[in-house]
């Protein structure tokens, strides 16, 4: 690949939710992340780590509490009652559950052309281009006049993908797009996304808790834990040589279909309550190699040799440790 050109940049982004009892939860805390043009970036972590929140903030449907997000050099402003700027239409989100992300009461054609009509395309052209997109995602154009209940999960996710593509996005953020699907549909939909990204010259953030799918399809992988980024690297490097203890634990927990009966390794404990994140390194209560300093010092996302990870043992305490 040529020189990496950033298309979507997150600088020191935090997202805070206010609960009904007025306590605050910082779901994403000071995250830096860059998506380059033409790249597939995998974003992994356990549920509750803030990866979906980050995805939503990145397209501007959730307000950030700190930091800035820029898309093609322009700020991504949170979506509010005023008009979303035209450039931001090139930034689209695909949701996890195609059973709830599509409207069961409207014909698929009507749902697909909404965005096009809003951007001034006439109805006939909008239907024609929607039909073409449906064909591209492997469905027939008669889909336009049907309802979602007539389709299986995999087919619905194809429809959701077609809908995201109607406005010819440059960046797609796919939030667990295959985890609600069946075994054979998972591979089909993952492949479809990869092919579309390559064919249409898009970039994609692929959010998933399944590291093995991310390993196969993404160029770079970012690992999140409790609202913080803990490791970002080229996918193959992260797989062959994970640096952060959390990344290591994630990889070891994947069950492998080798027929040899090897047991995946458990990472004991649960993700802590994000209202009360542990002091120091947020992973230290579950970390198998934590030392006393880990509960006091907060690690920075810093380079260890050529790679970025946030672990005191890799970075700040490296000399002490070795």
């Amino acid at each position: 690949m040529n020189q990496a050109q950033p298309i979507l940049q997150l600088n020191n982004v935090s997202v805070t939710y206010k609960r009904a009892d007025r306590t605050k939860i910082t779901a994403v805390s000071g995250v830096d992340l860059t998506l380059n043009r033409g790249e597939i970036l995998g974003l992994v972590g356990e549920s509750g780590c803030g990866k979906s929140t980050l995805g939503k903030a990145a397209v501007g449907i959730l307000p950030t509490s700190a930091g800035e997000i820029t898309f093609n050099g322009k700020a991504v402003a949170p979506l509010n009652s005023s008009v979303r700027s035209r450039e931001l239409l090139k930034l689209q989100l695909i949701f996890q559950d195609p059973y709830s992300s599509l409207n069961p009461r409207r014909k698929i054609g009507d749902q697909l052309i909404d965005g096009l009509l809003n951007s001034g395309v006439n109805a006939e052209e909008a239907r024609e281009s929607s039909a073409k997109l449906l064909e591209r995602v492997g469905l027939s154009r008669t889909t336009l006049t049907k309802y979602t209940h007539q389709f299986s999960g995999g087919q619905r996710q194809r429809i959701a993908i077609a809908r995201a593509l109607t406005l010819q996005p440059e960046v797609i953020i796919a939030d667990e797009p295959i985890s609600a699907l069946d075994a054979s549909a998972q591979a089909q939909v993952a492949n479809l996304l990869v092919e579309l990204v390559q064919e249409l010259g898009m970039s994609m953030i692929f959010i998933s808790h399944d590291l093995s799918v991310v390993r196969q399809i993404s160029d770079r992988t970012a690992v999140m834990y409790l609202g913080k980024m803990v490791e970002v690297a080229n996918t193959l490097e992260i797989w062959d040589d994970p640096r952060h203890p959390y990344t290591k634990a994630l990889i070891k927990a994947i069950p492998r279909p080798d027929g040899k009966g090897s047991m995946p390794l458990e990472l004991p404990g649960d993700v802590p309550d994000p209202r009360l994140p542990p002091s120091g390194c947020r992973f230290h209560p579950r970390c198998p190699v934590a030392i006393a300093e880990c509960s006091v010092m907060e690690p920075k996302m810093a380079p260890a040799a050529d790679r970025w990870s946030s672990c005191l043992l890799n970075n700040e305490l490296r000399k002490v440790g070795s």
């Binding site: 075994a183 054979s184 399809i217 193959l236 927990a253 069950p255 492998r256 040899k260 047991m263 995946p264």
Partner: protein, 329 residues
């Protein structure tokens, strides 16, 4: 010792257009202390098979064939007779621990109710036993947990509670329907370890249902691969995952991310499974199969039996005589 012996089990469900076959002449056995894995996609009949073994099928479903549990026929039991088995000797853990626990009842209330009914013990004794059970599935502070509510636990902890609840009446057979699918991999690994330990310590037999071959590889001894309600292949887990003979099993394995591949695309199986009630005569997988030939459709196919109870149903048998490196390079 054989605990469960299922012979030619068929289940037909009522649809708008008449009866549709959801489970088509399945036969399998589960021995004591053994974990049988049932692999298949949605619509393959795996959940319907489990529901049959619990007597929980919809009222209008037609069931034929036989399922003998400890020598006792289960098919055709009255709902009163079912109570002796369901929950007591055969228990179930469901996929989604977020919805299978009652949100408004304390864990205590949910755990002890069936213990008092099935075991005839006092509420006090049930509480003592429940505390032990929770400790057994590694719930920290079981006493406090008993007085808590489902919402106070994470998904993994809830699934542990569901497992403790299923084990309360010391069942011989546990049906686990996608028990780890809704969980994170790190938590899933813990649940698998737990089930494997319970199997060893309590001589528990488990039917583990999932579409995840990785999970099945780590925990099961035997596998039954279903497609569109029918058996595609069965045998020991290691044989099937290393030397599959049915193109569907092979396709499923290939469609998983390969840990040493440098390809960006996954090898997916084209097409979709047939709809309920529209399975063709012959091989239901034929229309998606790259090895399909004229012999695949039209007639009933006969199974091929190999050594080590390995069985598959494929008229073409494209992987005959291949070694492990040729089948799974």
């Amino acid at each position: 010792m054989t605990l469960l012996e299922v012979r030619d089990l068929s289940v037909q469900l009522q649809t708008k257009t008449g009866f549709a076959t959801a489970v088509d002449r399945l036969s399998f056995t589960v021995n004591e202390g053994e974990i049988l894995g049932i692999a298949g996609e949605s619509g393959s009949g795996k959940t319907m098979t489990a529901l049959t073994l619990l007597g929980l099928l919809p009222q209008h479903a037609k069931v034929s064939g036989s399922a003998k549990f400890n020598g006792q026929e289960l098919i055709g039991l009255s709902s009163k007779e079912w109570q002796k088995f369901r929950g007591a000797q055969i228990a179930m853990v469901f996929q989604d621990p977020m919805t299978s626990l009652h949100p408004m009842l304390s864990i205590k209330a949910q755990m002890t109710e069936h213990m008092v009914t099935h075991l005839g013990i006092s509420q006090q004794q049930a509480l003592v036993d429940a505390e032990e059970l929770l400790a057994d599935v590694r719930i920290p502070d079981p006493k406090k947990a008993l007085n808590s509510y489902a919402g106070q636990f994470s998904g993994g902890m809830r699934q542990r509670i569901c497992i403790a609840m299923a084990l309360a009446c010391k069942p011989k057979l546990l049906l686990a329907d996608e028990p780890s699918t809704a969980l994170d991999v790190t938590v899933q690994a813990g649940i698998l370890t737990l089930l494997n330990r319970l199997r060893k310590e309590h001589q528990l037999s488990i039917i583990f249902i999932t579409h995840d071959l990785g999970v099945l590889s780590s925990i099961t001894n035997k596998l039954l691969v279903l497609y569109a309600g029918r058996e595609a292949e069965s045998g020991s887990t290691s044989t099937i995952l290393q030397l599959p003979r049915h193109p569907y099993t092979q396709g499923l394995l290939d469609s998983l991310p390969q840990p040493d591949s440098n390809e960006k695309l996954l090898k997916s199986i084209a097409g979709f499974p047939p709809e309920l009630g529209k399975q063709p005569i012959g091989c239901a997988f034929a229309e998606r199969c790259k090895f399909a030939a004229a012999t695949c459709s039209g007639d009933e196919l006969l199974p091929t039996y190999l050594a080590d109870s390995h069985k598959f149903i494929c008229a073409v048998d494209p992987f005959a005589g291949l070694s492990i490196n040729q089948v799974r390079p």
